[in-house]
């Protein structure tokens, strides 16, 4: 499988240009002081000192990270696209990199002053953001488009349905489990907490207690998502759980289900991303893919459950809900 199928990398040129300009300005500024203000309080006065070079390196590192994130999101969007739609997410890197560049330029100017006071650098931010976002919108408009070929049903589930019907009829206890646990979820559940917890430990002596506690709590919360989303279908209950502790995020009685079937969907365009989502029509529970199982309840609520093998999950839900097999 090609790494980039439908999404041209030149969409990210504006963000890269902004980053290059910032790097050029930092080089042009000459040697930075070894020690200077790196953090400012609400009143604009410095409340943290350290290496400004480290501070700018962090900005450049974060900018590169956001450009990579934007590449991944744009590629995900392009792979799901069945008709051309404006992808607002493509502006993510332009906006964030430009804002950070504007703030960095202001920070650079403050290093020259004997009594620095930080103010919101609106002019600097706009000077970067307006052209970058403008170019981003233009490139998004002219980018090529290739409709994705999403096949709705790819797997024969008649054997599963026969087995389910036989087991349910015989009075056996039945449990069908569907697991969505993509690699990126494990990286988030391990990588981000590792960074947060390391940061909390290293800065424990210089940061306020609430900041350290916040990092630790956030790190543990993210780590608890290890394990992805699991949907369990039994005769009495359909449950969707997330993470290792198995937080229950959805609970449905099969008797409340009036319809369940396959539904193609666009995670980014319809729900704004992956995870536990909600839009005007329904709630969604998915970590990858573009075909899920849509369930309609007697109360008129709609739920969309993602799955790596949605045909099988749909058949299991229909079997326990007493609905006919998918034709």
């Amino acid at each position: 499988m090609k790494l980039f199928q439908s999404h041209p990398l030149w969409l990210h040129i504006p963000a890269v240009v902004v980053l290059a300009i910032l790097a050029g300005m930092l080089i042009d500024a000459g040697p930075l002081p070894a020690y200077g203000p790196v953090h400012f309080g609400v009143d604009g006065r410095p409340d943290g000192y350290g290496s400004p070079a480290g501070s700018f390196a962090l900005v450049i590192g974060l900018s590169i990270g956001f450009i990579i994130l934007s590449i991944w999101m744009d590629e995900s969007w392009a792979r799901q696209e069945r008709e051309k739609r404006f992808n607002y997410f493509t502006l993510l890197d332009e906006v964030i990199v430009s804002v950070m560049a504007g703030i960095s330029v202001h920070h650079l100017a403050l290093l020259q002053q004997s009594d620095p006071v930080f103010r919101l650098p609106a002019t600097e931010i706009l000077a970067f953001t307006v052209p970058a976002v403008g170019a981003g919108i233009l490139l998004e408009k002219v980018r090529p488009f290739a409709p994705s070929e999403a096949a709705l049903v790819t797997e024969d589930t008649s054997a599963l349905r026969r087995e389910l019907d036989r087991r349910l009829k015989s009075g056996a206890t039945v449990s069908y489990t569907d697991i969505q646990n993509p690699l990126y979820m494990n990286l988030i559940a391990f990588g981000v907490p590792a960074v947060l917890l390391t940061f909390a430990v290293l800065t424990a002596s210089s940061q306020p207690v609430w900041s350290v506690v916040l990092n630790v709590v956030l790190g543990l919360l993210l780590a608890s998502f290890y394990g992805g989303i699991r949907t369990t279908v039994t005769r009495e209950l359909i449950t969707v759980r997330i993470g290792t502790p198995g937080f229950r995020v959805l609970r449905l009685a099969p008797s409340d289900i009036v319809e369940a079937g396959l539904r193609p969907f666009l995670p980014l365009a319809e729900f704004g991303g992956y995870g536990i989502r909600r839009n005007r029509r329904m709630s969604g529970y998915f970590l990858k893919g573009g075909v899920g199982v849509e369930i309609l309840t007697r109360q008129g609520r709609r739920h969309l459950i993602g799955s790596d093998r949605p045909e099988r999950l749909a058949e299991a839900v229909r079997a326990v809900a007493g609905l006919a097999a998918i034709p």
Binding site: A172, S175, R230
Partner: protein, 140 residues
């Protein structure tokens, strides 16, 4: 993964789980790398003791059907290419086959009936290959 517990089945509960996982691997419904549900959740959904599910998972691990490591999710193991000699096969499966033959005899089945029964439940390798060819994204 579909697991059903039948109280009328004379086999112990853990053995029912072991058999169903192996059958789903044989039919190609569970593929190498597929995750199994956590012990606690499967036990809860089936209304059985979690030690029963743990015993089943340990048995499956011992038989090389699943990978089960501390701190990691249980996954279907990559299947080894068959390099078992007839004598090794007899050592591994001989006892079960002998019991099966004896059971068939006690039920009044002839050898031909037993062969027909084996053919009915066997999934031939070419069927499995065809199924995997239909699923090019198959991880195995």
């Amino acid at each position: 993964m579909l697991i059903a517990i039948d109280e009328r089945d004379p086999r112990p509960l853990y053995q029912q789980i072991v058999a169903q996982v192996k059958e789903q691997v044989q039919r190609g419904e569970l593929r190498a790398g597929d995750e199994l549900p956590p012990v606690r959740e499967l036990a809860s959904s089936l209304g059985i003791n979690l030690h029963t599910v743990r015993s089943a998972y340990l048995r499956l691990r011992d038989q090389g059907v699943i990978d089960l490591r501390l701190g990691r999710r249980a996954r279907i193991a990559r299947r080894q290419q068959a390099t078992v000699t007839p004598s090794e096969a007899d050592r591994t499966l001989g006892a079960q086959v002998r019991e099966l033959v004896a059971d068939a005899f006690l039920l009044g089945l002839s050898t031909d009936d037993l062969h027909a029964l084996l053919d009915l439940h066997a999934v031939r390798k070419d069927t499995l290959s065809a199924r995997q060819n239909r699923n090019p994204e198959d991880k195995s």
